[in-house]
Amino acid sequence: MDILLIIIGTLAFAVAAPILGCLLSGIDRIISARMQGRVGPPLLQPYYDVRKLLEKDRVSVNASEGIYITCALLFTLLAGGIFFSGGSLLMSVFIITLAALFFVIAAYSTRSPYAEIGANREIIQVLAYEPMVLLVAVGFFMAIGSFDVSAVLSAETPAIVKAGLVFAGFMFVLTIKLRKSPFDLSYSHHAHQELVKGITTEMSGSTLAKVEIMHWCENVLFLGWVGMFFVWANPLSWIIAIAVVLFVWFLEILIDNNFARVKWQAMLKWSWIITFFAGGINIMILAYL
C-alpha cells in the first residue's frame, strides 16, 4: 500500500514539480531583473532554455556522465514523491542527498579540473547543510511525533510552534540548498562569479537540461519542507503555508541579489555554528522540557 502511494506520488511529482519549478524559476529571473532595474526575460524563459538544450547536438566527455545525471534526476523525483505523498521525511532527506552525490560523481567522472573544483565545493556544501537538514527531520519528529509527513494533517499545532529555532536554522541552510548567493559556491546562475561553470562545466545539451529540471524539482521539494512547518489539522493552514513559502522564495531572491559569494570556509563555519545553536538548543529544549 505504502509502496503504491509512493509510486503514485513520484509520478505526480514528476509531472507537477517541473511545471511548478519552471514557473518559480521564471518568476525568480523576472524579480531579479526588476531588482536590478531591468525588464528581464519572459516568464517561460527557463522552459525555452531547457527546450533549447534538448535541441543541441549530443556531445559528452564520457558515457557515464549522462547516466549519473539521470540517476540524480530520478532520485530527486523519488525524494519529492515520498515527501508529497506524505511518506517519511527522513527517507526524503536521505534520498535527496543520494541525488546530490550522483550529481557530484557525474562531475568527478569528467576529470575536468574546473568540474572537479565544482564537485569539491558541492561536497563542502553537502557537509555544510546536511547536519541541519538531519536536525530538521529530528525536530519535526519531536514536534509532531512522527517522521511521516502526513502526520501534520492531524497535528494540533504546526511544527513551527515547537521547532521554531530548527526552522530558523533551516532557513539559513536553505540558501545553500537552493544554490543562491552568497552560498552558490558549486554552481552559480551568474556567470560573473563562476569558475567556467562550476560543477556543470562539462555538462551540455540534454545532460544540462536534466540538471536544470532536477534543480526545479529540488526547489519545489525544499519549499515543500518549508511549508510543512506551517500545516496542521486546520485546512486553512494550507493558505498560511503557501503564503510563507512564497515569502521565503522572495526572500531568497532578495538575498541572492544582495550578496556576493563568500568563501567556503565562511559558509562551513557559519552553517555549523547556526546548526549547533539553532538546531541544538531547540532539540535540547524539546528533549528535556
Binding site: V39, P41, Y48, A191, T201
Partner: protein, 147 residues
C-alpha cells in the same frame, strides 16, 4: 521556429581588443540595454554557449585559443565578430604580430563593425545571428533524421 532563437547564450572572448569593444559587449548586458529580455545570457563556458562574440583581431598568440573555444562549442553555433578589429583587424592590421580578422581563424557568420562597436550594433548582429542559428538548427535536425 527553433527554441535556439529564444535562448541564445553567448560567450565573449577578448582576442587582442583594445578593450573598447569589450566594454560595449558587457554594456549590452546592463540595465540600459538588458539583452536578457531576449533570453540572452552571458556564460563563461564554451560548452553552454550558442553564440561566440569575439572582439579584437587574431594574432599569433591567440589564434589557438579562438580555435579551441570554437571547437568546444556545441553545434549549432554562430560566431559574431564585434568591432572593426574583429572584422578585419582594423587599425592594427599592419602590426607585425597580427594575422587579421577573426575569419582568419574560424568561420564568421555575422560582422558587426564599429570602433568601438555600439551595443545597439551588437544586439542587431546577435539578432541577425539568431536567423543563422535557426537555419543551422534545421540543417542539424534534417541531418539527424537522415542518419
Amino acid at each position: 521556429m527553433s527554441y535556439l532563437t529564444k535562448s541564445p547564450w553567448v560567450i565573449h572572448y577578448d582576442a587582442s581588443s583594445c578593450n573598447g569593444c569589450d566594454i560595449e559587449v558587457l554594456a549590452a548586458l546592463c540595465p540600459g540595454y538588458d539583452v536578457e529580455r531576449f533570453g540572452i545570457i552571458n556564460t563563461g563556458n564554451p560548452k553552454h554557449a550558442d553564440i561566440f562574440l569575439v572582439t579584437g583581431s587574431v594574432n599569433e598568440q591567440n589564434i589557438h585559443v579562438i580555435k579551441e573555444i570554437y571547437d568546444q562549442m556545441i553545434e549549432p553555433k554562430v560566431v559574431v565578430a564585434c568591432g572593426v578589429c574583429a572584422c578585419s583587424a582594423g587599425i592594427f592590421h599592419d602590426c607585425y604580430n597580427v594575422i587579421g580578422g577573426v575569419d582568419q581563424a574560424i568561420p564568421v557568420d555575422v560582422y558587426a563593425p564599429g570602433c568601438a562597436v555600439r551595443p545597439e550594433a551588437i544586439i542587431d548582429a546577435v539578432v541577425q545571428g539568431l536567423g543563422v542559428l535557426d537555419e543551422k538548427a534545421k540543417a542539424l535536425k534534417a541531418q539527424k533524421k537522415g542518419a
